[in-house]
Amino acid sequence: MTSTPSWLDRFVDGLPDKGWFQFLARNLVVPYWVWRDPRPKLPGGPRSAPQSGENLQRMMNLIMPLKDPSPIGRAKAALVVAQNVDEIFAGLDNVGTVHNARFLLLGNNLCMISVYDGDFTNYIRDFIATIGSVFDAIMDLVEGGDDLKPTEQNIERFIDWVHAHDLFQVPDFPTDLFTLQDEARGLTGRDHSVLSLPRDYILQFHANPDVSLGGGYRAYPGVSAAQIRESQGMGW
């Protein structure tokens, strides 16, 4: 049974607020653990789930580093997107499973943020099959993009590239991180103490500094884009 915390417990619990400990943690403890017990970079995008609701309205946060992040490079990116608006609408229409999508220029990246239904690879493949030329123009702007052109003829590699540049989605239920880390390291049947969770998070953020916190929040869960269009009489 728990009782009044001992002086040692109180001391340890107070460490994170102490300046000297924060300095020590940043410069010694974390680098030591990164060396001793590194975590693999976890893959991007939503994970497959048995529940159908989890496979609808899934989030993509595609972060593509700009070749030229200067204002000139940004202006070029803005023009490419603007010039292809019609194609992008046509693509959305033909793919049929996208709720919404948008481009951002953020930091040194061109980002494509979207909400789609179903499997990620099908979404990307259908998009490329419809408007591959738009993605070819985008690939001109981003690092590593040249090797993937034309995207229609490099479809498998393009899908892998997008997957690698889609942000890792931190599990909505924190301890699920243990399972994801174990799976990535090919470990099974391991027990974890919830006390180690903060350390596991820190190590994971070392491997995946940019993430999506959770899989996103849905105001009308379990509904597909086509179901919304149908219910509004827009035809699907």
Binding site: T97, G118, T121, A129, I155, E230
Partner: protein, 483 residues
């Protein structure tokens, strides 16, 4: 000009059972581990050359020639990614294969609906150790004895870690009682000229470009090309296969038909089931609840258990001897429920949410039954089901795409999204549903939905592997590896 077609030299190197199915009554799939890569490579070389009486020769696609009898025993090989690695394929070449094939079927389980009882952690040996599943050798024969001969020959060069025996049921049926394998892709420039069937009827399903199955040929998505694994000799004109061991709960299925028939009678809607009007044409001998069970079976599948598509059963009015055919499509007033097995897996020309996906996710299916014979009058708990092969140029764009978005989830139509395939889907009793088609009570009669709940999972995955089916030129390349 001929890129979309196969010249004779190309046809002759493609392995058999891909473009056309063998019509042989027995199969044995041998799951093999490469224990000695030198011995395995020597076997592959001899299997291509056909010059060693102790090694079975690979069967290739051969045009029928008058006077040349058809093979009575055939031999074909599929390689997993682990198998290619075990044979000594270079790292750079191994990496040229698509991700889903590299990962293998067990790591794609969530996408394939292999969870719960179908989770790979419940699969029996040898699939518990997917890294040891290297090659699947498939032997078809007219006679079971020949299967043993080939197994003996193979076991001298490979370690046999699994054996699956399959057989054809009479009348082309599968367990659950349906006539199966009715709709298969037909290929441009291969299955005869023009979209006509054997009786010179126009086929509603267009012929598929060869790139649907053979790597390096054009696909239906105009400019989209699937990568050819390297080197070219290994990858070109090869294809991928999802081999699945699918256990079927036959008694559970028959019980479900009975309980659903009784439920519909109790609900007072049984008389309005779409298909009632054809039941007496398809099954003149059945009455009452027995006939109703068949109507439900037809709605779940989209075909009557005789193989007759729901869409076409009306033909029997004028021609009681009409045979099931493929000459149909789904319009806005189709009799066949949107969620039925055949419609959700192959929507043909019907409207789908993924507008460009019509006819792009076609699969070649080569299945045989396995397990203990079924006697519906004597319930048992014995295992039986289907040894399925689902073949296509891209596992990701075809097999997996169908499995994760259409067969389960039902993303192809807003009317079925959130439901799974009634026959094959990853259903759980608590959440599953299916919309049967009923005729409305008011005239003019139109179709309305009637939702039933509580479908259990009728098909459980018991094993499987993704394999690559190279040409004999590709197998020669593997035989010649030296590392």
């Amino acid at each position: 000009m001929t890129a979309g077609y196969l010249v004779e030299d190309e046809i002759g190197i493609v392995q058999g059972n891909i473009l056309r199915g063998y019509k042989l009554p027995y199969v044995r799939h041998l799951v093999l581990e490469v224990a000695d890569r030198t011995a395995a490579r020597a076997f592959l070389g001899a299997a291509v050359a056909g010059d060693n009486p102790d090694v079975p020769q690979i069967t290739t696609e051969q045009p029928d020639r008058p006077g040349v009898p058809k093979a009575t025993v055939t031999f074909n090989l599929g390689f997993t990614w682990q198998g290619l690695k075990a044979l000594g394929l270079a790292d750079q070449e191994l990496r040229s294969f698509p991700t889903e094939f590299i990962e293998g079927m067990t790591r794609r389980a969530a996408k394939l609906g292999d969870f719960g009882d179908s989770d790979p952690c419940h699969w029996p040996s040898p699939y518990r150790q997917p890294d040891r599943v290297h090659v699947i050798a498939s032997v078809y024969a007219t006679d079971e004895g020949e299967l043993n001969t080939v197994q003996d020959q193979v076991s001298r060069s490979f370690k046999v870690i699994g054996v699956h025996n399959g057989y054809a049921l009479p009348e082309g049926k599968v367990y659950f009682g349906y006539k199966d394998g009715m709709s298969q892709p037909r290929f441009v420039g291969f299955h005869g000229s023009g979209p006509r069937d054997g009786k010179n009827h126009r086929i509603v399903e267009p012929e598929d470009p060869l790139g649907t199955v053979l790597l390096g040929k054009p696909t239906r998505l105009r400019d989209l090309e699937y990568a050819i694994p390297q080197p070219d000799q290994l990858g070109r004109l090869g294809t991928f296969n999802a081999f699945r061991v699918l256990q079927q709960d036959c008694f559970g299925f028959e019980d479900f038909l009975t309980s659903t028939a009784e439920l519909l009678q109790k609900q007072g809607v049984a008389d309005r089931l779409v298909g009632n009007e054809h039941a007496k044409l398809v099954y003149p001998e059945l009455k009452g609840r027995d006939a109703l069970r068949e109507v439900i079976a037809a709605q779940l599948c989209g075909r009557w258990r005789t193989g007759m598509p729901m869409q076409l059963a009306g033909i029997l009015k004028s021609n009681p001897d009409a045979q099931p055919s493929n000459q149909f499509d789904y319009g806005s007033h189709a009799l066949c429920p949107v969620g039925s097995h055949i419609r959700r897996n192959n929507p043909r020309g019907g409207e789908v949410v993924q507008r460009i996906a019509n006819f792009t996710r076609r699969l070649i299916r080569r299945g045989m039954c396995y397990g203990h014979p079924l006697d519906l009058k004597r319930p048992d708990n014995l295992e039986r089901g289907l040894l399925g092969n689902f073949i296509g140029a891209s596992l990701g764009a075809q097999f997996e795409a169908v499995m994760c978005d259409w067969l389960n989830l039902g993303l192809n139509s807003p009317e079925i999204t959130g439901s799974n395939d009634p026959l094959l889907g990853a259903n759980t009793v608590e959440t599953s549903w299916f919309d049967l088609n009923l005729w409305t009570e008011v005239k003019p009669k139109t179709i309305e939905k009637h939702r039933i709940h509580g479908l259990p999972r009728f098909v459980t995955t018991r094993g499987g592997a993704y394999t690559f089916l190279p040409t004999v030129a590709g197998i020669s390349y593997l035989a010649g590896l030296r590392s």
